[in-house]
Symmetry: C2
Subunit: 388 residues, 2 copies
């Protein structure tokens, strides 16, 4: 097992009708004005917007808004938010939404405490040392952004979707009321679920021996999601299913499942998926359902052990050689993605064969990346061809 540091100071308030609890917290922390960050119609339809603004009005806290945040959020919206904060009267950021909204809020929170352009954090030109406090209200689980210190933002000028990390980015408080997720479109339930599963796979498949206990926790999380997603497709209004989903969503990518691992995960598939989002606007979860199985098929023969263990831990595959178990596990994963109607080929994302080279170049940018097996630009191209 590898040495590690664990630190996660976010306070999670989880459950039905929990938004009003924010009022006392904001008042105790001396917050007078907040910047609301949110997307579109879903924020109103879920009831979250009404509950948050009522809570703020009751607490006597003023608010401004940056809205229309879309999935694969753009740096332009971050810059808008930073400008609004710098105009004055705002002590804290209050995202109402899913991962894209939380990521935007985090980037605004950091950018508001920095004199240069916020994209400097993403290029490595500047380091995040402080940020405004974030008090968030989650309306869509998937990224664990509500409980981690990561933000992923896209820059259309440079055609790059990339991430920043820093302890100042942990939300101070995240309110997770699973009932807001009852009105989510089915596709978002599916893609968010794939993302949650992928966050565990990126870890247990990174080739590090890690910790058996943590691996077991990860396998249990995947098994839970494989039960919950199909049940939610049938019963989207079931609160307890939404709550299990939200619980898994906050646990998959908050750092906990990286404990004892060297590299804290592989994340090659995420990087390759980001290119598909950047260039084709594909939903993040959909890109992962396409890329992960192709990545796995490309690599498993040289690295069968983590895939074989996944087969044992998640799919009850105990017979055969490690290679046989590995292939069976990959097929079972693909079958599951197909069963829940997630795309598993580039074709289904609307990608044409002639686009593949450009996608591979966008993902590689001339670099070698990946942990289980370092991927040269040629490997990336082959994986995208397999995914086609």
């Amino acid at each position: 097992m590898q040495n590690f540091t664990w630190y996660n100071p976010t306070r999670v308030i989880f459950g039905k009708d929990t938004v009003p609890q924010l009022a006392d917290i904001l008042k105790a922390d001396g917050v007078k004005g907040v910047l609301l960050v949110f997307g579109g119609k879903g924020t109103f339809k879920s009831g979250a917007y009404a509950q948050v603004t009522e809570m703020l009005n009751d607490a006597g806290i003023t608010f401004s808004e940056v809205n229309d945040i879309k999935s694969n959020p753009l740096v332009g919206k971050v810059r808008d938010g930073v400008a609004r904060v710098k105009a004055g009267g705002i002590d804290a950021i209050l995202p109402i939404g899913g991962g894209s909204v939380f990521d935007t809020a985090k980037a605004i929170a950091a950018g508001s405490c920095y004199n240069g352009d916020v994209w400097d954090f993403f290029t490595g030109k500047a380091k995040i040392t402080k940020a405004l406090p974030i008090y968030g209200v989650l309306t869509a689980s998937a990224s664990s952004s509500e409980v981690n210190n990561i933000a992923v933002v896209s820059n259309p000028e440079s055609e790059i979707k990339t991430s920043i990390t820093g302890n100042a980015l942990y939300p101070k408080v995240s309110v997770i009321d699973p009932s807001f997720q009852i009105t989510l479109p089915e596709k978002q339930t599916i893609y968010g679920g794939v993302d949650i599963i992928a966050h565990v796979l990126e870890r247990v498949l990174d080739g590090d021996e890690g910790s058996d206990l943590i691996d077991e926790q990860g396998y249990a999380l995947i098994r839970t999601m494989m039960r919950v997603i199909p049940e939610l497709i049938e019963n989207p209004r079931d609160y307890d299913l939404r709550a299990e989903y939200a619980m898994a969503g906050m646990m998959a990518h908050n750092g906990f499942l990286s404990l004892g691992r060297n590299a804290r995960g592989d994340f090659s598939s995420h990087r390759m998926g980001h290119s598909l989002s950047m260039l084709f606007g594909a939903a993040h979860g959909a890109t992962l359902a396409v890329v992960m199985p192709a990545w796995a098929r490309y690599l498993y023969e040289d690295n069968p052990v983590p895939f074989a263990r996944l087969g044992e831990g998640v799919f009850d595959i105990f017979d055969g050689s490690d290679e046989e178990k590995a292939l069976e596990a990959i097929e079972a994963l693909e079958d599951f993605f197909r069963d829940i109607k997630a795309p598993t080929t580039l074709r289904e994302l609307g990608v044409k064969e002639e686009d593949i080279e450009r996608i591979a170049e966008n993902a590689s940018r001339g670099q070698t990346f990946g942990v289980l097996s370092p991927l040269e630009p040629d490997d990336v191209l082959e994986i995208f061809k397999l995914a086609y």
Copy 2:
């Protein structure tokens, strides 16, 4: 699933040779003098004392000592520590040890910021609002005290062993170097392991529906411990086994496995076990191996479901009625305790039949307690008779 709040700000530094990392942290936090709290020979044998004092000397931090803390730690030692802090020159508490030492340190940390007698916190006469910061070094995993906000202390005058809880009691930093546990006596590995398992059982057997995902995480933790404890008895110097044990030890009772549960666990068996420790000085883990199976046998027929689910999740028991699965699970648990040479009867703890009433009275104190099934004083007496 029940609403909950999750907050755990302790920074965990986990792994080999990690004590020196404390120097920079203590200096950055402006600590000039610490109170070392520890037990006896084990602190020196493990190498922890030498590493900590070298680190403090290098950092130019002075230290005083309160030592000879025993298992089932006494309030007298807490008072000694508080007096030492009030004499001046101490900004922080630095426990080096296991749960008893951490618990003592927490009580000292709170008592040092209070004008009355520290026992007032335990009787409910005073509430914990602040405490000195705690920077701990763990040398024995079992209680999760290194990552929770609980302290259990015994008062021999009133013959009560009881606990305090408060967010001010979370250690600021806990260093968990599993190599310090290589020199632990075999009995401590066994009893600590029983305690870790019991912390999960107290939760998954409390009768609350809770969260399937959290239950699965709990079952995975028990399965890991059931593999690791016997392997450690054979190979006590195996670092990776010690690391898995330490990982499970910090996760079992840090609050995480209570997420989504109403009562956050039953803990009747802990309360009954505390009486055996108080009156007979029995090791905490040993009392749990005796009490939990008796408690389970007494209750399972009226509440078979949580026991049957335990059977499925931990022991692969899938055939039969819930009652049959429940009984089979309880027997499997007892078999495991016997296999690792933990006591499973009061007789093995040296208790005589004529002591049973006094023990039951000490546990009940005229009150009804327990979550899965509230235990009247008569029930408690019957459970101890069953355990005899």
